[in-house]
């Protein structure tokens, strides 16, 4: 049984302009100790998928389907259950570490508070544990750092503090929502390495939400590619990168500039989908080079790995055309 299983999840937001379906029929799972990445561009619904797991949707959002945590359905669970879930069993870190920390509280107190809240340990014990955790996320001179305020930390250090806070209660799953988007590349590399180390140390599972295919490659065993609120393709990361079977995955991989590549980038024409006016069929149709008759009207079913009407050999041929270098 997977640790976290999302089954046919749909998220709808009621807006003055009508309902907007941000997530539509998404299914994915994270194994105990495993790592799954959800990759998508803006408007793909990747963050809303993660938020609905912990009941963090905005007020006008409604989630249907099922989210099973260790077999227990936690989608739309009562607030009390969600509160113990957050922090104790599932940790979460966000894109911007500055807005997630209280600027008027010492970092040590904020960390300790997370512990006293959930485990009812003494303040002194909590502070000691906080210090240990800052050590664990490789913050030098952790003891002295506990007394400092968030603004005295650099962006990378703040994200480490957020990770420490998420890990305090030794959660079995860490949800990381674009954890490195706000950081510089050299710092991003450090944080990704840290996450990999911590997974090993704590035996914790990871659900990584990102737009960057690059950071997925080294960090997660499973990858789910989302577009327009739906899953396009999912599978073992190695297979997905080596032999994508969905035109969107092909396009996305080809559009990423490679440090070791030359020539024009293979851009995907057109713009991300307008979620207030969804297509009845596949959302990628208007931008897809393999789009044909059933695509705009008939929603392709998820057949194990992918949801696409185009035959796999055609997708392979497209991939070969777009990446001539790979053949070298």
């Amino acid at each position: 049984m997977p640790l976290l299983e999302i089954d046919d999840l749909a998220v709808t937001f009621a807006t003055p302009g009508g309902d907007v379906r941000a997530v539509d029929g998404v299914s994915l799972s994270v194994d105990e100790g495993g790592a799954t990445a959800v990759v998508g561009e803006s408007g793909s619904g990747k963050s809303q998928t993660a938020f609905s797991v912990l009941g963090l949707l905005a007020k006008n959002g409604r989630a249907t389907g099922a989210v099973r945590w260790d077999g227990e359905d936690i989608l739309n669970a009562p607030d009390r259950r969600l509160r113990t879930l957050r922090g104790e069993e599932i940790g979460i870190i966000f894109q911007d570490p500055m807005t997630s920390l209280n600027p008027f509280m010492r970092v040590g107190s904020q960390l300790a508070e997370a512990l006293t809240e959930h485990r009812g340990v003494s303040r002194r014990e909590a502070e000691r544990e906080a210090g240990r955790m800052l050590d664990a996320v490789r913050i030098p001179d952790a003891k002295a750092r506990l007394r400092q305020y968030p603004h005295e930390f650099s962006g990378g250090m703040r994200q480490r503090v957020m990770i420490a806070m998420a890990l305090l209660n030794r959660p079995r799953l860490l949800i990381a929502d674009e954890p490195t988007t706000a950081l510089d590349v050299t710092v991003q590399a450090q944080i990704m390495e840290l996450l990999a180390d911590l997974r090993r140390e704590f035996g914790m599972a990871l659900l990584l939400i990102t737009h960057d295919l690059g950071i997925v490659a080294g960090a997660c065993e499973e990858t789910v590619v989302m577009y327009g609120g739906r899953v396009m393709e999912k599978g073992p990361t190695a297979d997905l990168f080596a032999a994508p079977t969905h035109p969107y995955t092909v396009g996305l991989l080809a559009a990423v500039p490679r440090i070791d590549g030359d020539g024009d980038l293979a851009a995907i024409p057109g713009d991300p989908p307008d979620m207030s006016r969804p297509l009845p069929g596949c959302p990628f149709t208007p931008r897809c080079p393999l789009a044909h008759a059933p695509c705009p009207t008939v929603r392709p079913p998820m057949d194990g790995r992918r949801a696409c009407h185009a035959p796999v050999p055609d997708v392979r041929a497209l991939a070969a055309r777009l990446a001539p270098e790979a053949a070298e």
């Binding site: 561009e41 962006g155 710092v187 737009h211 559009a255 995907i268």
Partner: protein
């Protein structure tokens, strides 16, 4: 032919010290220190650096909205600070800028047609209304936008389309240099590739020089003929794009190259080996000597002595006294 030359350019900003009296001298933030660079006509120079590297300040010194504190910006051999008022206005028309956040760079109360026409109105006030509309329409087609969209407002466009509008505005006066400050970092990957390709094609077709600023080395590598790497306001390494990436001479360039995530599961794990430690120091109190020495895996005691000057190492120039000798890891 050299179009733009920077000679020992420095830009400092006064920063009020906390608790200081108003008459006390403020601290100086050295955003850019002693940068010398050249951009040839028709050439694309990539400018890479992390936050605090001074790359955006450098861009603004080049277009002339931030004055140089010392050193010179030479436009076709003439010092920008010493230009006559008329010549300076012409410089403003010849150098255009493309901004990072495509939506924020457009006035929300102005149609995109008027936004694109604004440089025309400013520099060629005699052009008739029809003439203006015609040229706006032309340039919109050039960047892949239908001229029918001229009377729309920015919020009706996607991010990628807004950036096309921004590029059209920069092109409408047929400039000789475009300075693009992180033009694609706010865009989705699939759209980013469209804009990168568009810019590459336009500068090539129109023979425009381009300074392409980004924090993403792989994008810069794709666009640029030459690359300049900045760290804490100083130039670390300059050189032709290929050798600079393939065999960096400066340890910082190498660290940047190593840190770029590669969408290849087999390589991802291997690359994590050569990471640099720690964070970028504050530009208010940069380290003495070589500014990178506090994070440099190759740092030795003599690195703290004096800031190293650029000197040729193989095919590039690096500001390092212990450059990487061989293209060992390539």
């Amino acid at each position: 032919m050299t179009l733009l030359r920077l000679e020992d350019l420095s830009v400092t900003f006064p920063v009020a010290r906390r608790g200081a009296w108003p008459w006390e001298a403020p601290d100086l933030l050295r955003a850019v220190t002693d940068v010398s660079l050249e951009v040839a006509a028709g050439e694309t120079l990539g400018l890479v650096g992390e936050s605090g590297s001074g790359k955006s300040t450098l861009a603004r010194a080049v277009i002339g909205t931030i004055p140089a504190s010392s050193g010179r910006v030479l436009w076709e051999g003439q010092d920008l600070a010493a230009l006559s008022a008329g010549r300076r206005r012409r410089h403003r028309a010849e150098v255009q800028m493309v901004f990072q956040d495509p939506l924020a760079a457009l006035n929300p109360r102005m149609t995109v047609g008027r936004a694109i026409a604004e440089p025309l109105q400013t520099h060629e006030p005699d052009a008739s209304r029809d003439e203006r509309r015609r040229r706006v329409g032309e340039v919109m087609e050039k960047v892949g936008l239908s001229p029918k969209l001229m009377d729309r407002y920015p919020h009706e466009f996607s991010g990628g389309q807004c950036q096309r509008v921004g590029i059209a505005r920069a092109l409408v006066l047929n400039p000789r240099l475009i300075v693009a400050d992180e033009p694609v970092s706010a865009l989705d990957v699939s759209v980013q590739a469209q804009v990168v390709n568009l810019m590459k094609r336009l500068v090539k077709d129109m023979g425009i020089s381009l300074i392409f600023i980004a924090h993403d080395l792989s994008v810069v590598r794709n666009v640029s003929d030459r690359i300049a790497v900045m760290y804490l306001g100083r130039l670390m390494e300059v050189g032709p794009a290929r050798p600079l990436i393939a065999a960096p001479a400066h340890p910082y360039t190498r660290a940047l190259v190593e840190a770029v995530p590669v969408p290849d599961p087999a390589r991802g794990a291997v690359r994590a080996a050569g990471l640099v430690e720690g964070d970028i120091p504050s530009p208010l109190s940069p380290p003495s000597g070589c500014v990178f020495r506090t994070r440099c895996p190759r740092a030795r005691p003599d690195c703290a002595d004096a800031p190293p000057a650029l000197r040729p190492v193989r095919e590039t120039e690096a500001a390092c006294i212990h450059p990487i000798a061989e293209a060992a890891h390539a």
